[in-house]
Structure formats: C-alpha cells, structure tokens
C-alpha cells in the first residue's frame, strides 16, 4: 500500500513570528522545520505502509526549495518526497494550496492520503476536505485511531460527544489528530539515509496548474490591516509560600464562584 502524507514546513513556532509589513504574508524567509502536527501522519503512514513494496511518499509545498523539514520526515522512514516550490506560490490561500497538493498527490497514485487536521502556522483546517474534493475522494477528518482492513479504512473520528466509528473505502483522505500514534524519533541511521533519499522538486507549471489559480491573485482575498490588539492587563503575581491555595480561594469567593 502506498501512503501519501502531506507535510508542511513552517517557521519554528518557538521563535517569534511576524507578518511581512507590505504583503501581510507570514514571513517564511528563515529556516523552516517540519510542523509537529505532521509527525503523527508520518508515523501513522509508516506503520500502515510496512509491507514489502509499500511506500510512504511525502508531499509538501514550500518556498525556496526548502527541504529541511522534509529531511526530518525522510529520516523517520518515508521513502521519498515531492516538493512543489515556485515563487508564483507566494500568497497562495488554502484553496490554491489544495489545488497544488492535489495535483502533486495524484502523481503518486496513493491508496491513502494522510494529513494533519490543520497546520500550526496557517490553521485554516479546510485543506483535507478541499484535497479530497479535488481528487474526487471520500474523506474522514479528525481521526484519533486508524486501521486498514483490505480496501477499507476504519477510523475512530473525534466528535463533540465522544467519537464515531467510521468506515470508508480506499483510496481516501484521512486527517489525523495529535495522539493518533506516538511519532518515532529519527535514528542516526535514518538521518544519514535521509540525505540521499529522492526529493522531486516541481514548479506550478509542471503540475498543469495555471498561474492565476495560485498566489495572491488566486487567493482573491487580502489582509487590509494588522493592528496591535488591546493588551490584557496583568494582575497580581504571588510566590507560593504555602498560602497559594488560600489566595485562590479568596479570589474565587470574590468572584462568587464559590
């Protein structure tokens, strides 16, 4: 079974991020890393595609031919990657991104497509459904458990009240929540092997997508203003000297919570 895992390479969430003052796009000029949210899909893919001839293929879209995040996922054990990198993609929205990813995914002819529920930096959360619709596939979002049985994928899908058991024929798109599986750490051997694994770098034109479908023009939306939000005033900070609980109790009484 071939599994495509969509992965995003993002600015390190631990470092302060900023918007470009002119374009209002997120500044992606620094080093990009594998979005933590995607490590769950990569691990799930590796566990599901563990038979002879099975492959995990990564699909990503990033500026500047960036591969450092892809190398992390290749080091975990993915076989190869397809990277779409093109200056024309700057400012692309979720629909444009889904068009690019869907076109790249279809080249890999997967039995299953895994994604995170949303990226950590953009977090629109619409791309899994958009990819599925573009590929004409069914989708199951918010999976907290996945098993493949022949040509059917069985998913425990998160709901407001608990979870649903969902069955879906393959091929399909499944988005996974964190905790669906415990991601492995890349081994030293894996890191060394990842350096020579193939990364197929494509431009928008290679995918047969017209320029007007992507970039700022394709997004058909704009950020008109970015302003500092009203700051919340900090309150009283107390070092606990055995009286911390009492202080909280007094505050709760004041609020009439108790």
């Amino acid at each position: 079974m071939n599994v495509v895992v969509c992965v995003k390479q993002i600015p390190d969430p631990a470092a302060p991020s900023a918007l470009d003052p002119v374009t209002h796009n997120l500044d992606r000029s620094g080093k990009l890393i594998l979005d933590d949210s995607d490590s769950y899909g990569v691990e799930m893919g590796l566990q599901l595609a563990s038979g002879d001839g099975d492959e995990v293929i990564l699909v990503s879209m990033a500026p500047g031919g960036e591969t450092s995040g892809l190398r992390t996922a290749l080091a975990m054990g993915a076989a190869r990657a397809i990277l779409v990198s093109d200056d024309a993609l700057s400012g692309t929205d979720s629909l444009g991104t889904a068009k690019v990813l869907a076109a790249a995914i279809s080249r890999a002819e997967p039995d299953l497509v895994l994604t995170a529920t949303e990226s950590t930096d953009g977090y629109t959360g619409t791309i899994p459904a958009q990819i599925a619709e573009l590929l004409g596939l069914p989708s199951v979002t918010f999976a907290k458990k996945i098993a493949v049985d022949g040509s059917t994928v069985r998913v425990e899908r998160q709901t407001e009240a608990g979870f649903d058991e969902v069955e879906c024929p393959l091929p399909a798109v499944v988005s996974v929540t964190a905790g669906v599986v415990e991601p492995r750490y890349p081994s030293f051997k894996g890191i060394m092997a990842a350096k020579s694994k193939p990364v197929d770098v494509l431009a928008v034109a290679d995918l047969g997508i017209e320029g007007g479908q992507v970039g700022s023009a394709g997004a058909r939306q704009e950020v008109t203003d970015v302003a500092d939000a009203e700051a919340r005033e900090g309150g009283e900070i107390v070092v606990d000297e055995g009286n911390g609980a009492e202080r909280i109790l007094a505050f709760l009484e004041e609020l009439k919570v108790i």
Binding site: T124, Q158, G234
Partner: protein, 320 residues
C-alpha cells in the same frame, strides 16, 4: 447592509441547533437583509421555530443524510442549490468538525476561496477580524473577488441573541447523490461519559499542561473542575503527548473558551494556548516558572508547584 442574502450552515442535534449555529444566525441578521439556515439530519423541520427565533426566515432542509459523514453530501446539496439559481452573497459556517468539512468541499465545488478563523466581522459583512500571534495582534481581511463569500467563524465570536422571530419557512430539498466522495459512513457512535458542563459552555474551566508532569496528575484537574462545577481542559502539549483526548484542547488548534473563570495549571502560556482562552473574564494561573507568559494575562498568578497548590485547593474546597 451590503449583503442581501446570507446563509448560515446550522448544525443541529437532539437538543436543537448548536450554540455556535445560533451565534452565526445572530450575526447574519446584522450583515444580511435576509437570513436562510441550511440544516440536515432529518429533524430540520422541528428546529424551524428556534432557527426562526434567532433570525432565519427560511430553512433549507437537506433531509436525512443517513450514516454518511455530512461533509460531502451537504456540500453537494448546497452547490446544487447555487447551481439551481439560488444566490447567497455570503455563507457562514461554524468552525466545527463537520462545518469545516462542508466549507472545504463547497469551496472546491464553487471554486471560491474560504476565509477561516473569523473572530469578528464588520456590520456590512465585508471584512473579517482574525486573532494572530496569541491574540497580540488583530488582522482585518476581505475578499476581493466574486461571492458567495465563504466564512468559517470560531465559536464565541458573537453572542447569540433571540430576535423574537416566528418559525422559519421550511423548504425541503432533496440532497443529490454525492457519489464516491460521500462513501465514508458512520458504523457506530460512542458518547463518552461527561459529568458537568461542556468545555465551551462552562462558566468555569480548569486546564492542565506539561507542568502536571504526568498523565496521572490530570486527575487533579478533573477533581478541581468537578468541585467548581466546571469543565476540564488541556494545553496542546499534553494532548499531543496523548495524556487526554483532543476534545479537551483549548487553544488555536482546539476550542475557544470564554468562561467567567479560567484556571490554568502548569500551563506556560504558549501563543497557541493564549489565543483560545485570553477572552476569559477572569484568569488564575499556577506555574513554577515566574517568567511564564501565562502570568502576563492572569488576574491572579501563583508562582508555585501545581502538586502542592492544587491538592491544598481541592482539600479546602471539599471541606467547605
């Protein structure tokens, strides 16, 4: 009012429309001259009174989608309405599990972009507000192309207020066959035991983070939440670690909560978390690290060990 015709994707359950659906209907009244709800699940007609009370004059009842996951069949039915000549200027979707599926699929069917994570909207319905970088900045955005404008709105962005309207007119609409995209089927539904209020509706939320040290210590959070008649929540770190299910997550990639009291225990306050709880009326934080960002938004901050402060607090509450 710049928009004539605003649709709201209204999710309904046994208890009626979800609170987020009512929030969207309330806002739709402000931005549109007429408001239409789109509902499914077989019971739409029963909900016409409530949907009407909150502002819908018409309900498209897409009927029972059976065991299919709603994303594909509901998007197909909505696309069919638009292709059949209906002209919504804007459609508001709840930022829920199914709401995002429907919005994503419909955006492809209509080839229209989607604006997501909306936390505010201008009264003409043409510009949207978004909370960035843990809520420290607010961005304003708008569409530049043709409608219908697809808006996905986060919970608690608007207060739900009854308009006192009469029942909405119900228009039955047969959902077209969505084909292979609708092949995902629910085999069984599991309701997890929950005592106390829902996370996003609770007046008190008690959340735990990495500072708890281990999954077992989350018990402290559950006990405290119960004693305060609140709901237990969690930071992304401990959801990612598998200590608690995703449904408990508060933050950018989880739920937005705005309780009267938010008690953050062992949570450092990453921007990811702050964006989901900064709107709480009162915030109390307990954390070992006095430089933790959570203290910058706390009304009361206790620099201390959750393993000392929480058991003492639990004992004191029990003895009252």
């Amino acid at each position: 009012m710049a928009l004539d015709n605003v649709w709201v994707l209204a999710e309904t359950g046994e208890a009626g429309p979800t609170s987020l659906s009512l929030e969207l209907l309330t806002k739709a009244r402000t931005i549109g001259a007429s408001v239409t709800a789109v509902a499914w699940g077989g019971g739409a007609a029963e909900h016409a009174a409530v949907l009407g009370e909150y502002g819908a004059t018409k309900v498209y009842d897409l009927g029972d989608t059976g065991e299919a996951l709603p994303g594909a069949p509901v998007a197909s039915a909505m696309a069919a309405l638009v292709e059949g000549g209906e002209r919504p200027d804007a459609i508001l979707f709840p930022a829920s599990y199914d709401g995002r599926d429907v919005a994503g699929r419909l955006s492809v069917k209509l080839d229209r972009p989607v604006i997501t994570n909306i936390v505010g909207m201008s009264d003409d319905g043409l510009s949207t507000q978004h909370s960035l970088f843990g809520g420290s900045q607010t961005a304003t955005a708008r569409f530049t192309g043709e409608g219908p404008f697809l808006y996905v709105v986060r919970a608690k962005s608007f207060a739900a207020e009854s308009a006192g309207g009469g029942p909405a007119e119900v228009v039955q609409t047969a959902a077209p066959e969505a084909g292979p995209t609708a092949a995902a089927r629910v085999v069984s539904r599991h309701v997890e035991e929950r005592s106390g209020p829902k996370l996003d509706e609770a007046g008190v939320v008690v959340s735990g983070g990495r500072g708890l040290g281990s999954a077992d210590s989350y018990e402290l959070i559950e006990q405290l939440a119960k004693l305060l008649n609140g709901a237990p929540g969690a930071s992304r770190a401990i959801v990612d670690a598998g200590w608690v299910p995703y449904a408990r997550q508060v933050g950018q990639t989880g739920k937005t909560v705005k309780p009267n009291l938010y008690l953050a225990c062992g949570i450092s306050g990453a921007t990811q978390h702050l964006v989901g709880m900064k709107g709480s009326k009162h915030i109390v934080a307990v954390n070992k690290d006095q430089d933790a960002p959570i203290f910058s938004v706390a009304d009361l901050g206790i620099v201390g060990d959750v393993h000392k402060v929480l058991p003492a607090l639990i004992e004191a509450l029990k003895s009252r």
